[in-house]
Amino acid sequence: MSLDYENDGALHAKLIEEVLSQYPDKAAKRRKKHLSVAKSGDEAGEEGEVLSECDVKSNIKSIPGVMTIRGCAYAGSKGVVWGPVKDMVHISHGPVGCGQYSWSQRRNYYVGTTGIDTFGTMQFTSDFQEKDIVFGGDKKLEQIIDEIEELFPLNNGITVQSECPIGLIGDDTEAVSRNKAKEHEKTIVPVRCEGFRGVSQSLGHHIANDAIRDWVFEKKDVEFEAGPYDVNVIGDYNIGGDAWASRILLEEIGLRVVGNWSGDATLAEIERAPKAKLNLIHCYRSMNYICRHMEEKYGVAWMEYNFFGPSQIETSLRNIAKHFGPEIEEKTEKVIAKYRPLVDAVIAKYRPRLEGNTVMLYVGGLRPRHVITAYEDLGMVIVGTGYEFAHNDDYQRTGHYVKNGTLIYDDVTGYELEKFIEGVRPNLVGSGIKEKYPVQKMGIPFRQMHSWDYSGPYHGYDGFAIFARDVDLAINNPVWGLYQAPWKESPDRGRAIAAE
């Protein structure tokens, strides 16, 4: 149900020009490559075809001093990939801050007894002091691992998430991990995700993926009876329960989800992954690496899917089913039919309230493209989108989603985003916590699209209903009408109202 519309490319090109004119020359030259207006593709409109080209430079260094919204490799590894693995203890190895600021902030839901057999919403840190910098922290790390074993004996493994200083002072966390793993007969994974590595969260994802390959796969005999319909869900972090709202659908169509990476995951789910028949990847950006590895090494095929909004869910379910043949396909049609009344009712309720509203997005990972159709299912129009840490292949994929004239911004700066929003005045902005309050001050409704603004799930049919409700409550809240003190109302505005 792709909406047919075009965006005001000329306005967007002008906005780009305006923001660039404010930078010093050197920075303007560099930023120019990250900003563009999507142009019509050759075969626009047909399913699976490219709708537009989003030609920007990406995955290169941020410019100093411009207020990039990006994070770091540690955030990509501990915060995204490893942190949600619930039965392992993840040590934020280095000073206290990184672990403190990321503590419980990604809403990776899980079931378990925290502090006893699961450790998700806890902050384990080596709390580096000056002496650890001067003399090295390997001895301390050894002691930390011993203390974890004593106080949290039901942990099923430990990861060592390196913060900036570790790589700079030359600690050998690999040696410590290897020795201690042998001593305690536990999986211990050193992850070299120091924050200065790479240009964003992205390299942290890659390093975290590699650590799975090098420190988890083939380290134990995995006893597991493989079945014909076994799949892994890869790159679903169960934010607000996303992975659960997805799993329920995959099980309903007859598949067996033998591992979910990494929301609500246990180490066992990661270890057995190579035995599955198919890897279903949601967040391509953060976990494509390990899917490619599993394909090469173990022959596990992988496919991307999108569980945001009914159009994409239907398409994805059918594509997934096709992989398994008629029996699953038949069940899939039944599942789609079963949820159709819910979808219809949700759209009937909310589309009239949201039709034609414009949206600007700025997120990470998969969402700057994946959520677009979910908004369009509600009759909304995407006027701008961009990624914090995308690569070229993400922008290629974005062309399948965005329309001609859409404003595209890579690694946007605080300044640019503010000016773009001011210039476009969309009806809704979807971005992160750092962007939320500036946007709301301008009187523009906002939803956090990392944490689902403490709501969710947004995946699956159950999630779509919540998504629709949340978008509606953001846009149609009466508070936006109270911004102007009545005695300050401009005469222009007064006349406009009277003329209606």
């Binding site: 260094k61 801050g97 990321s102 502090g115 384990f124 819910l342 503010e418 916590i433 911004y483």
Partner: protein, 513 residues
């Protein structure tokens, strides 16, 4: 199917529906390879014992759920309290994303700061180029009046020298030569956010005061509030008191407007804060008062060096701490404490007297920054409560000694214990083995509330899961009323919950309490 368009269920009710419960139970059984329920239950029980507590408190290396953050967070907060000041944090960029998020989640407000975005090559060659380019970009894009530079641990480990880097950047015309770029080295592996606050404020004062002639202006006072998640409410309340007294004062560092901008259609990147001109003039003040000693140790030393009298407090909250603060103000300024303030004091005492029966003998566990814990313990004792556990992860041995002295000053402190340097996983053991009635801390304490059943009162930064508390003052007599009411509400709500079962416990569900 649990979901419907009429009644949309989000995560809280949705996953309690039978379809999801069954799905999750099967996931656990078939795919998670969990420990046997009995083993988990046994370990859970074991963590409640004295034996576990001893092991837990004997930890030397591992830190679990600490109640402190790192220095640059304090520096960024400090810089936000000066007129049109942009924080520029030299080092890795992910850190800055974290500070901004952390502050925004607490204040529900924008929090601006930039990074010099150092990466692997800068780790090898140093971050000079990042500083030179970064200052130029920040200056041009964000139109600041001052750029306050602090550091992440990456820049500290490789030893970048801010003083010479900033000089270099000025030489290369990144910013005009006379543009103010104060700085502070804020290594994350030393101290905590309260020290970062100290460093940045000192850096700013030094920047403006160094080499300047001081002409003492009698009776004028500088006030440094310290790192305070309640600065919005507190600073405004303190100014009201100071104005009532007619004191001539300057707040040095005041983020109360920056973290409380109105919604009227305009996004203000900068709002309020101490004027640069006022910072310069503040050199002449007769005295500088710190509201939080452990946030300002170095700054106060510096103020003494330039010839100012200094005095410090521990988060003036409650009756006697406010008394002392006002009397000190009066002594330095020569202004009398007006009758209106005496009446305010009387009203707080009146409220405490009205409610004393509900507070007397209540046991508390209190954690947070050192000055706050001192203040809360003192106020709790004023109400007849017992501060059984007083914990500050960033508390020093000096703080511990000062706490011991405070506790020894009242019979209500005789069974109290002070836990300097301990974390909230240690607190968990303390609450299981020596339970209390109430826990005072921040949002992280909710995990302790869940595990131990101790009701949590949120009065300390950061508060993520409740809204707007920080907009109300805790300091002064008015603040005392707010704290008192918050504690009482928690007590009454709990009692009502415990007595609300119809026909079983509701004889005690009293209408009047």
């Amino acid at each position: 199917m649990p979901q419907s368009a009429e009644k949309i269920l989000d995560h809280a009710p949705l996953f309690r529906e039978p379809e999801y419960r069954q799905m999750l139970a099967e996931k656990k059984l078939n795919f998670e390879c969990p420990h046997a329920d009995q083993i988990v239950a046994d370990q859970g029980e074991f963590t409640k014992t004295w034996e576990y507590r001893e092991k837990n408190l004997a930890r030397e290396a591992l830190v679990v759920n600490p109640a402190k953050a790192c220095q640059p967070l304090g520096a960024v907060f400090a810089a936000a309290g000066f007129e049109r000041t942009m924080s520029f944090v030299h080092g890795s960029q992910g850190c800055v994303a974290y500070y901004r998020s952390h502050l925004s989640r607490h204040f529900k407000e924008p929090a601006s700061a930039v990074s010099s975005s150092m990466t692997e090559d800068a780790a090898v060659f140093g971050g000079l180029k990042n500083m030179v380019d970064g200052l130029a970009n920040t200056y041009q894009l964000y139109d600041p009046k001052m750029i306050a530079v602090s550091t992440t641990c990456m820049a500290e480990v490789i030893g970048d020298d801010l003083h010479s880097f900033i000089q270099n950047a000025k030489d290369e015309n990144s910013v005009p030569r006379d543009f103010d770029v104060p700085f502070a080295h804020t290594p994350a592996f030393v101290g905590s956010h309260v020290d970062g606050y100290d460093g940045m404020v000192k850096g700013i004062l030094e920047h403006f005061w160094k080499g300047q002639e001081r002409t003492e202006a009698k009776g004028t006072i500088n006030i440094i509030p310290g790192f305070d998640g309640f600065c919005v409410g507190n600073n405004r309340e303190l100014k009201r008191l100071l104005d009532l007294m007619g004191v001539s004062y300057t707040f040095i560092q005041d983020a109360s407007d920056q973290f409380d901008t109105p919604s009227d259609g305009e996004y203000r990147m900068y709002d309020g804060g101490t004027n640069i001109e006022d910072v310069k003039k503040a050199l002449n003040a007769e005295a500088t008062l710190s509201l939080q000693y452990y946030n300002t140790r170095k700054t106060l030393e510096y103020c003494e060096q330039v010839g100012q009298a200094t005095a410090s407090f521990h988060y003036p909250l409650g009756v006697q701490a406010t008394d002392e603060f006002l009397m000190e103000l009066s002594a330095i300024s020569g202004k009398e404490i007006p009758e209106t303030i005496r009446l305010e004091r009387g009203r707080l005492v009146d409220a405490m007297a009205d409610s004393q029966s509900w507070l007397h003998g209540k046991k508390y566990a209190i954690y947070g920054d050192p000055d706050f814990v001192h203040a809360m313990a003192r106020f709790v004792m004023e109400t007849g409560g017992e501060p059984t556990h007083c914990l500050a992860t960033n508390g020093t041995s000096a703080w511990e000694a000062e706490m011991e002295e405070l506790l020894a000053s009242s019979p209500f402190g005789k069974d109290a214990q002070v836990w300097a340097g301990k974390d909230l996983w240690a607190m968990r053991s303390l609450l299981f083995t020596e339970p209390v009635d109430l826990l005072i801390g921040n949002s992280y304490g909710k995990y302790l509330e869940r595990d131990t059943g101790t009701p949590l009162i949120r009065l300390m930064f950061p508060i993520f899961d409740r809204h707007h508390h920080h907009r109300f003052a805790l300091m002064g007599y008015q603040g005392g009323l707010r704290v008192l009411t918050t504690i009482l509400d928690k007590i009454f709500d709990k009692l009502d919950r415990e007595t609300s079962q119809t026909g079983v416990t509701d004889y005690s569900y009293d209408l009047t309490r």
